[in-house]
Symmetry: C2
Subunit: 321 residues, 2 copies
């Protein structure tokens, strides 16, 4: 029986991961017990034991791992917009709990040296900051221009060092912007990348706050779940000590996104997008990564969509049917 | 009157910095008041008000900055060997106090928005991990292979984000291995790079634990002090948000170091070096950076020695005369 803990299990990705584990097991292994940990859960939550807790409260992480899970997905985080608005909360939720988690796991390892859980951490391409090369390679520096990115980068370093010291077996996967996000908009400054597709597909108006020429790096929620389960199974010796990995994705402009929307739902859908430039969002987005060359991740077997039509198709299949 | 606080003011670099400030002021400005903060001070300490405190104890940083210094040099650290031996102590001394410092300065800024001190942090080339390109450039990733390196990288991220948010004005300078260190050996695994020069120059035997072919990146203590005072005066707008900077240095092999020793002190000095391979040190050193291309720092006016003869000359002038 593999004990799996999903920190942030109430969130969008956590729920999709839990649903995948319930439907198909962990990479085919159905002998699993899944615990979802979060401050709150949706009323129609995916299957899994629910534990309510706030990771920013001291002692929460220690309690969360007391039963020695074999595999921990750490997805608990406030989003980029909120981390930027509320500096204290961002660091309190997105950084300090990783330290608490490492310390809790170190204590468990000390008491039982056989215990060395796999930890899969959802990092982000927000660890990068402009200026960029045409495509960001696997050896490009992490120089974040947001608190969210700084917090993710710090967590990567803590997890890598704890792994090197041998009391956890960690991997950080830097997610592209996840698109098309289902549900309601959140405080992520990247929300419009999903909104301009999701809202029109549901017959609703959407606001586009940036130029059509803005290029960005996308993968679907289904790909994100695939990254997580693939990372869980990965032999981390193949990482050669570099345990933070840029995930594959698809690079396209907003214009190309809109073209894919037109292909999927016609001109009427496209007409629901209202251009309403927002200087705040323009200023944030201009520092975001536009394109990657993810040779390492592809070689290690991580997979994403090959074009934006596929990304829309995933949304239609997983959310509208 | 510029209030200057040197955290780690009792250490080798802190003392040399204090001596420079006493002798020449801060880049010529003699209207300064210098406070040295450390757990202990040498009996023949350089000038400055001494404050004893352990930065790893909660509240120490808050107390240390309560009088609102205009300029803070943060050099307080346990060395790489000790951080590797004692994981808890390494993170407790080398990482958490930076967070405490940022929080203390944020509180002071909140009470007085005019207060935004310059913070110069001594980071290290230990933030890098093998494999490397022939020369590490300014956009190479930080993927440390030591706890010390991970802690320094985390501090850089915290300082950069705090600076971006505007309550401090920070810069992290990644020091080369400082050579020739005066005084007794410490727990730094890099100690032999200095030992094989310093001990023979003083008529003593020295142990060389690695091959002659090992290449490394060096600068003198005098250069280190120059980096710090230059960083203190630097307009950080020139950093374009990338506030961690590889310092210039000189790349040479152990054989070239020994050749420079021969030039300076003759064959008798060289004969005092005993080759005694140490597998532990060999394993650590093989992951260390060997060479850099520091275009940004050079353009910003940071200067180091041009060859190892100059580095030995600095030791002779500053320590033996």
């Amino acid at each position: 029986m593999t004990k799996i803990l999903i920190l942030g299990g109430g969130g969008m990705i956590g729920q999709k991961l839990a649903a995948e584990l319930a439907a198909n097991g962990l990479n085919g292994d159905r002998n699993i017990a899944v615990t979802l940990h979060d401050i709150a859960f949706p009323s129609n939550s995916a299957p899994g034991d629910q534990v309510a807790g706030d990771v920013s409260v001291a002692g929460t992480m220690k309690a969360a791992v007391a039963n020695k899970p074999d595999l921990i997905f750490h997805l608990a985080s406030v989003v980029s917009g909120e981390a930027e608005e509320d500096y204290s909360k961002g660091w309190a939720v997105n950084m300090h709990p990783m330290w608490e988690l490492m310390e809790a796991l170190r204590a468990l390892h000390k008491a039982d040296v056989q215990y060395r859980p796999k930890v899969v951490f959802s990092s982000s391409i927000a660890v990068f900051g402009a200026p960029y090369p045409d495509a960001i390679g696997d050896e490009f520096l992490s120089a974040p221009l947001s608190s969210y990115g700084a917090q993710k980068a710090v967590c990567e370093l803590m997890l890598s060092d704890a792994s090197r010291k041998g009391f956890v077996d960690g991997i950080s996967i830097r997610l592209p912007t996840i698109c098309v996000r289902p549900g309601l908009p959140n405080k992520a400054a990247s929300g419009f990348f999903s909104g301009i597709i999701r809202e029109p597909l549901n017959g609703k108006k959407a606001v586009l706050p940036v130029e059509d020429t803005v290029r960005h790096w996308h993968a679907s929620p289904r790909s994100a779940v695939g990254f997580l389960t693939h990372a869980a199974a990965l032999d981390t010796n193949l990482l050669n000590g570099r345990r933070a990995l840029n995930m594959p994705g698809f690079s396209c402009t907003v214009a190309e996104q809109i073209e894919a929307l037109r292909n999927a739902a016609g001109e009427d859908a496209v007409r629901l997008i209202r251009r309403e430039p927002d200087e705040n969002i323009i200023a944030i987005v201009k520092n975001w990564p536009r394109n990657f060359e993810t040779a390492r991740a592809l070689k290690l077997g991580f997979k994403a969509e090959a074009n934006f039509d596929e990304i829309i198709q995933v949304y239609v299949e997983d959310e509208l049917s």
